[in-house]
Amino acid sequence: MTETTITSTGPQQPRKLWTMPRWLTSEHPFPWVFPTTATLIVFGLYPILYAVWLSLHRRHPVTRENQFNPEWNWSRVFADERVWDAIAVTYMYTSVAIVIQLALGLAIALLLDSERRGFGLMRALMTLPLVVPPAVTGMMFLLMYNNSFGVISRSLQHIGLMGTDTPLLATGSTALWAIMVADTWQWTPFMVLIMLAGLRALPKDPFEAAAIDGANAWQAFTRLTLPMLSKIIAIAVLIRGIDLFRVYDYVKVMTDGGPGTATETLTAYAGKIYFGSANFPYASAVAILTLVLVIITANIFIKVFKVRF
């Protein structure tokens, strides 16, 4: 608080006992930045720091006490075979799903990039899967994959692509792919929307020039569309890739990481330790490891593909 000095000379000034500190006034950035910063600290930074802190403790399963022991969980994380399996499953899931969703998203976007009658409706319908909660999608596919009555399994059995003795979600070689299908059904429209926005923003002139020069559709796509769309594609892959790396809902609902550990991603494993064994510090260590891997992978991607925001 500052007080103004009252002098006996000069014109009479109104008596001001208190003025607001400058850093609290609208001229200073602080009042504008504070709410957002506080929210980020409370809901973003604090949980991460707390998880890091928790991961530095050993939880005694009998006494349930958390004792500070920084090495306990971290030495186990790297010695835990299930962690390594989960890392492999996570990278496999992320890389395959991103390629499929990108290819499908781009292809559908190219098909829907038209002003002809009915295309607007089709673009709107494309967004419908996005509004379904992922857990509901997982449940929906779980039923459709049921080996006895599921429409997908029965159809595949009927056309001879699958035997009755190999349930999709209970067979190690098919379970991860089955989950990817559900993920792809739900999130390909997201890719479509981003690609469509990118396609709509492309300048028309280069395409007109190419047409005059006799370029065919394939040449125009590979020499013009793809290069000009590359930054959009890179950003879409980055956003979706981070999302895929954290996949939890589908795995939890459809297989819970099984059969065995065939679909156990890092987040699914962390969830299992958390919910099943109630070992919160070790689950935190696995979760922090996931965060670190996401950050490293995303930064490598940004460097390699020169993504600029």
Binding site: H60, P61, V62, R64, N146, N147, S148, T164, D165, T166, P167, L169, A170, T171, G172, T255, D256, G257, G258, P259, G260, T261, A262, K272, I273, Y274, F275, G276, S277, A278, N279, F280
Partner: protein, 507 residues
């Protein structure tokens, strides 16, 4: 209760009894209920037989519940200071919890105490209860405790017997702790001398069989593991073309249901999960024999067994896909429901016995009880951290009282925990083929009294039984690892479990 209300409730009960005995049709029953001012939702009506459901819940209406006069007076008086209080209880969707959720309105009407029952999947119940006790939060006043978790939560609950004695002003008249089945109290509720909770649910392994299929092939009801295996193999061979298998399993990888099947297989072959010195013994000769037997069963079961927990196993039975199942008795009323394709075709008998000799309890570890009938019971426990323990205690007494135990059984058809319930005339009257049947209860009672088996009482068991053990078993059964070698799988489990118990300082 005034005479008008009394007459109305009597009319409703008479009508319900007539419907149960098939003296009136469903249409007539609904019409009469309409006259009595009872509205059934489409869901409730469908539960009267239109749909199949685990436990065969009959969609009981709160009007069925007739808390006796003495108890009503007690609840009104004792509950008065707590009117307006809300208590919270989290549970899996077990039959008694689902029915109690429907009937809780009467408790609220009498006491003014609101009851919130959160029904979530089993693993979430565990996570919520664990978080609550870890932080001593008191978010939940009552916990649903599966028998596998009792040792974990033993110090977080209030002993109900002690509370009953310490608070005479809140002690429900004629609550009668001695009326609870002794083996259940030992297996489900007690850790040492302490009652961790009050028994609330007792699914237990019995043998269920399709009478018509066995008769068709001239097969006697199996009584031993060897006879069962032979019958299962024969039926699969003979009926596979018709889409019928010898048995169905709850073998979903990584799920507690698989661990339940496995532990019974080990006990049934003379093994145990732990030795007396606390080391894992599922990898000894008897344990491996049990696991190999289970692998053989899987070859004679629908492939969907690998993706099924108890719900899926029940669906296989209800859909007529399987002929012989050793599993939870709570399936039975649902199989008898109206509209069921197999109504009246399933029968129940005691679990398989022999030819192997059971391992002695003294040779097993952590209070494990190797026997023929795996129990999967649960109790309802009063949280030590509850902010409203007295109000919650009143609800706990009400929901586990003699009268409510009968009402819950009539509504759900599951086995009651009190000896007096088995002799109750209303329950005996429902021992006929139909929705919510109680005709299987004599077998259940015999199994509880003579053959009840219990998993170990140890703090790590909640995690081991729902994560490490069923995950490794899943790798074996689905061919992800071990190349079909049961011994290798059991040895790996031994390594994991022994490391965990050593880390925890349990041996």
């Amino acid at each position: 209760m005034n005479f008008k209300n009394h007459d109305k409730q009597q009319y409703i009960i008479d009508t319900a009894n007539a419907f149960t005995r098939k003296q009136i049709t469903k249409r007539e029953f609904l019409r009469k209920m309409g006259l009595a001012g009872i509205g059934f939702s489409a869901f409730g009506a469908s539960m009267l037989g239109g749909h199949r459901r685990l436990g065969g819940l009959t969609g009981i209406d709160p009007a069925y519940a007739t808390t006796p006069g003495q108890m009503r007076d007690f609840l009104r008086e004792a509950g008065r200071p707590f009117a307006g209080t809300t208590i919270r209880y989290t549970s899996e969707a077990t039959p008694p919890t689902v029915v109690a959720n429907e009937l809780k309105g009467e408790f609220t009407e009498l006491t003014g105490i609101e009851v919130e029952i959160e029904i979530v999947p089993l693993e979430q119940v565990l996570a919520k209860a664990t978080q609550d006790v870890q932080g001593e939060l008191g978010t939940y006043d009552l916990y649903y405790l599966d028998q596998a978790w009792h040792a974990t939560f033993a110090r977080d609950t209030i002993d109900p017997v002690q509370y009953y004695n310490d608070k005479p002003e809140l002690a429900m008249p004629d609550f009668d702790f001695a009326d609870f089945s002794e083996p259940l109290v030992e297996g489900i509720s007690k850790i040492g001398d302490k009652w961790v909770g009050v028994p609330f649910d007792i699914p237990i392994f019995t043998l269920m069989y399709r009478r018509d299929i066995l008769e068709k092939h001239g097969i006697a009801v199996p009584t031993t593991y060897d006879e069962f295996t032979a019958a299962v193999q024969f039926i699969t061979e003979a009926e596979r073309e018709n889409g019928i298998y010898g048995t169905g399993l709850q073998a979903r990888s990584g799920h507690y249901s698989l661990e339940c099947d496995w532990s019974q297989a080990v006990w049934g072959h003379g093994g145990s999960i732990f030795r007396a010195d606390g080391t894992f013994s599922g990898n000894d000769a008897e344990g491996v024999a049990g696991l190999e037997w289970y692998q053989e069963l899987l070859r004679n079961a629908p492939a969907s067994s690998l993706e099924s927990t108890w719900d899926g196993q029940f669906q296989m039975m209800a859909a007529g896909q399987v002929a012989l199942v050793q599993s939870w008795d709570e399936f039975f009323p649902g199989l008898d429901a109206d509209g069921s394709d197999v109504q009246g075709l399933w029968e129940m008998t005691i679990p398989l016995i022999g030819p192997h000799t059971l391992r002695d309890r003294a040779d097993a570890g952590y209070g494990e009880i190797p026997d023929w009938g795996h129990q999967g019971g649960s109790s309802i426990a009063l949280s030590r951290y509850s902010k409203n323990p007295d109000a919650a205690w009143l609800f706990l007494q009400w929901v586990t009282s003699k009268e409510m135990m009968v009402q819950l059984t009539l509504g759900g058809g599951f086995a009651p925990m009190r000896n007096s319930s088995y002799a109750d005339q209303r329950i005996l009257d429902k021992a006929v083929v139909g929705p919510g049947t109680t005709r299987h209860l004599p077998v259940v009672l015999e199994t509880i009294e003579k053959y009840i088996a219990s998993e170990p009482d140890m703090p790590l068991w909640a995690g081991l039984s729902s994560n490490e053990i069923p995950t490794e078993l899943g790798k074996l059964l689905t061919g992800q690892d071990y190349d079909g070698n049961a011994q290798a799988c059991a040895d790996q489990i031994a390594q994991i479990v022994d490391a965990a118990t050593a880390d925890a300082g349990l041996r």
